[in-house]
């Protein structure tokens, strides 16, 4: 969202909230000797990544290392930016079937929940964060769930240890809508769903033009509440992207029509059959968030689902963000498995470089946070992972993980349980903290 700063002066717009800085390691760290993948530029053999005050300060083959820097030898290792999983409910959903731990879906009004700012209710104490971070995922987009016509606003987080305000990189990064399930939005037919979206867009425009009259109760009835209309203003003004969930090629075509007619900036989420309409998506410069681990015609909207989808889109010139679609819960418990999804995208035709980009710089660019995350460049957050090998291979270990310059090495809850039960029966003594 490149234009976020414009929102600040706009009376009818959502305020974009920039995350406050969490305490970052103040020391200088030099990671040396590894094969460095900056993503924003060509790989560097025997490269150096210099980190200070939570930021990357230099990346290259010839970087002067300050005398006081802590040196980390990454010889034989691979060094990449921390990975980004762009479709999670991390911190919004802890235990799937325990409603008290679910803050990922708003009730909304009349199937519109545009004002739902998902990150406001974030549980930054989620035990699901550490396992993701430990395996090299350092940023996530959190995306509202639900099948409303509009389900709410997504945000980008850094997986630092802290409060929600420490984690937030930017919110909102997108408004989430769907044109694939009329029933989910309480409607009867696809055409009706599309008309309702058009109505919401028109009402938002009318509301924005007639604020004073609205406050005097001198306008006609609108199809959404005051706060929802207000939240939609940056969308209809093309400043906040609309992330439209659509799997069926014909639904994607409808999304493209709506975007063109209304000058909206849109992304397609899911996009099972996006490969059928790849040329139009490329021409409209519409990015697609999709996975590479599903080939099942699991519904009449996903009959053409294929694992080659991401690769075909890429070849057509579409920006692709790899997200989970295989049913292995890459949204919460297994956020880390976005690596596996990218690996499968490669197995089904995407280039290795594109796959890495699809979980680093592409989502950062698409969501307007490339100045913070997604690449190893001077000035970016020091989200850095040192891998024992190819990050997408199962045998590879994320040996060192830095988020905003702080290294995380604590045992996560799964590891604590594993330690406790490694020897059976377990010791009667309380396990010592490690």
């Amino acid at each position: 969202m490149r234009h976020t700063h414009h929102l600040l002066g706009c009376a009818g717009a959502l305020l974009a909230i920039a995350g406050s800085a969490a305490p970052a390691a103040s020391q200088t760290i030099a990671i040396t000797g590894g094969k460095v993948y900056p993503v924003s530029s060509a790989p560097i053999e025997n490269g150096i990544v210099l980190i200070r005050d939570g930021k990357v300060v230099a990346v290259g083959a010839n970087v002067t290392i300050p005398a006081d820097a802590q040196r980390i030898d990454a010889s034989g290792k691979w060094v990449t930016p921390g990975l980004i999983n762009s479709a999670t409910q991390l911190g919004l959903s802890e235990v799937g079937q325990v409603q008290d731990t679910r803050d990922d879906r708003a009730r909304g009004r009349d199937n519109v929940a545009a004002s739902f700012a998902s990150w406001e209710g974030l549980n930054s104490m989620s035990v699901l964060i550490a396992p993701a971070r430990r395996e090299g995922i350092t940023s996530v987009a959190i995306v509202p769930s639900g099948q409303h016509l509009v389900s709410g606003q997504a945000a980008m987080l850094n997986l630092v240890d802290g409060m929600p305000s420490d984690m937030l990189i930017r919110g909102p990064i997108a408004m989430v809508a769907q044109v694939q399930s009329p029933g989910g939005a309480g409607l009867g037919a696809r055409g009706e769903l599309i008309v309702r979206l058009r109505e919401l867009i028109e009402d938002t425009r009318a509301f924005a033009r007639n604020r004073a009259a609205f406050e005097r109760a001198e306008t006609r009835d609108y199809s959404a509440s005051r706060l929802d209309l207000q939240a939609m203003i940056p969308v209809v003004e093309g400043r906040l992207p609309l992330l439209i969930a659509a799997d069926k090629a014909t639904d994607i075509d409808a999304a493209l029509r709506i975007a063109r007619e209304n000058n909206l900036r849109i992304f397609i989420g899911g996009g099972a059959e996006a490969w059928m309409i790849a040329d139009k998506l490329a021409a409209a410069r519409v990015p697609v968030l999709t996975g590479a681990m599903n080939n099942i015609p699991g519904g009449f909207t996903t009959l053409g689902q294929t694992q080659e989808n991401a690769a075909i889109l890429r070849r057509a010139g579409v920006q692709v963000i790899t997200i989970g679609n295989g049913g292995g819960d890459e949204e919460t418990f297994n956020v880390r498995n976005i690596k596996v999804e990218a690996g499968n995208a490669i197995a089904y035709g995407m280039s290795w470089d594109d796959a890495l980009r699809s979980v680093t710089l592409t989502p950062a660019e698409v969501f307007g946070v490339a100045d913070r995350v997604g690449s190893l460049q001077a000035g970016r957050d020091a989200n850095v992972v040192i891998w024992s090998g190819d990050p997408f291979e199962f045998a590879t270990v994320a040996e060192r993980v830095f988020v905003r310059g702080r290294e995380y090495r604590e045992l996560d809850r799964q590891e604590l349980l594993t330690e406790r039960y490694k020897l059976l029966p377990p010791s009667k003594a309380m396990p010592a903290r490690r």
Binding site: L303, D329, F392, A395, L424
Partner: protein, 475 residues
Amino acid sequence: MKSHFASVAVLMVIGACAPAKTQQTPPVAPKDSVSPTGLGAVSLPNSDPFPSTYTRFPSGPLVIRNVNLMTAAGPTIRNGMISISDGKIVEVGPTVAIPAGATVIDGAGKYVTPGIVDTHSHIGVYAAPGGQALSDGNEATNPVTAHVWAEHSVWPQDPQFPRDLQGGVTTMQVLPGSANLIGGRSVVLKTVPSRTVQGMKFPGAKYGMKMACGENPKRVYASRGPSTRMGNVAGYRAAWIQAEAYRRRWDKWNKDKKGDPPGRDLGQETLAEVLRGNILIHNHCYRADEMAQMIDIAKEFGYKIRAFHHGVEAYKVADLLARDSIGGSLWSDWGSFKMEAIDGVKANIALVHAAGANVAVHSDDASGSQRLNQEAAKAMAAGIAAGIPITEDVAIRWITRNPAWQLGLDDRIGSLEAGKNADIVLWSANPFSVYSKPEKVWVDGAMLYDRSDPRQQWRTDFELGFVRTPAGINR
């Protein structure tokens, strides 16, 4: 773009536990005896009223040479050979004799494994494209439905079958869901095209029976009961008490043949067959404490639990599983989708293996089933990270030989050994690499999938016309 996880989690299975004392006794009726079918005939309990009509597909002798063989029976053979003929593995080794007329495939850089075995599938009973019309996996009308048989719900045209085959799965157990304490009979299928489910049934495979612990039954039946875990346990015990009496009545009549036969009850027939040791118990159970209780219930009534399924806390009672020879059909890394799953750890499979129990990677998911090799790779990596040295030769057993044992079929499938059924997969690379894919899959010696040849890719009736593919194939 939402995970399908929540819907998948509804489909969980059941299991029970096992005393070592149960002796296998002959089924109520001999395998080949069919009930009389003429006018006025009296039906009698029959172990096989829907017999398999599967016959292997035509094939000639085949040798794959210069290939790495993960045998699941011993160390990986580098650059070795395998010979198959008449549906069986003839020879496996560094070199083998090439029979006259054999097709010879050069497997340089590639791998051969046994066909993958998935102990926990709902393919066919929750068929794609889904919806209520194809939702046939849970007879959620009563907490005890021992009388239902999964095979009567299987749709052979489910497009998930050919996808599982292209993932290397050649044998699967299709189970009823986990809504019920006792959910009914499972069926073991070969992943082969057929007009009928009988044409997919693995000849001679034992039936399984599904039981389920914990949250699913008590949630589904909250309003009528059981609504608690103690209600669940009372429900299992009540069912077995009835089944004991039924088994005694019929065993006595079968011995004496005096007077009218006792009245038949389909559910009791299945339960009695479990008590006779002729049907294997597959028990969906998450929590360690509940598994320990299910083991005691099995001992109380004298049956065996063949395997706990899902068992996200199996690592806490892995010693109990090993002691009583109970298998674990486990996920590599699922957890936290409900309260009884919050203690899931990704080292679970490795920990249970290290305790000496038979462990299999199962799917419970038609997508994950296609990549059980990747699931095993994750579980192996998690074990190594936890300090448990897991080799590829161990991990390959988690998806072949061990699940074959859990289905009672390890004498026929699950390893590359002379005499075993020629269910084999040729992989483009080491199957524990994310970049590896099955290139060819053989079932009983017949190649039923070839990634390089669309004509050798099974498409179900449903797919014709409905399912478009990137290659523009609409054959």
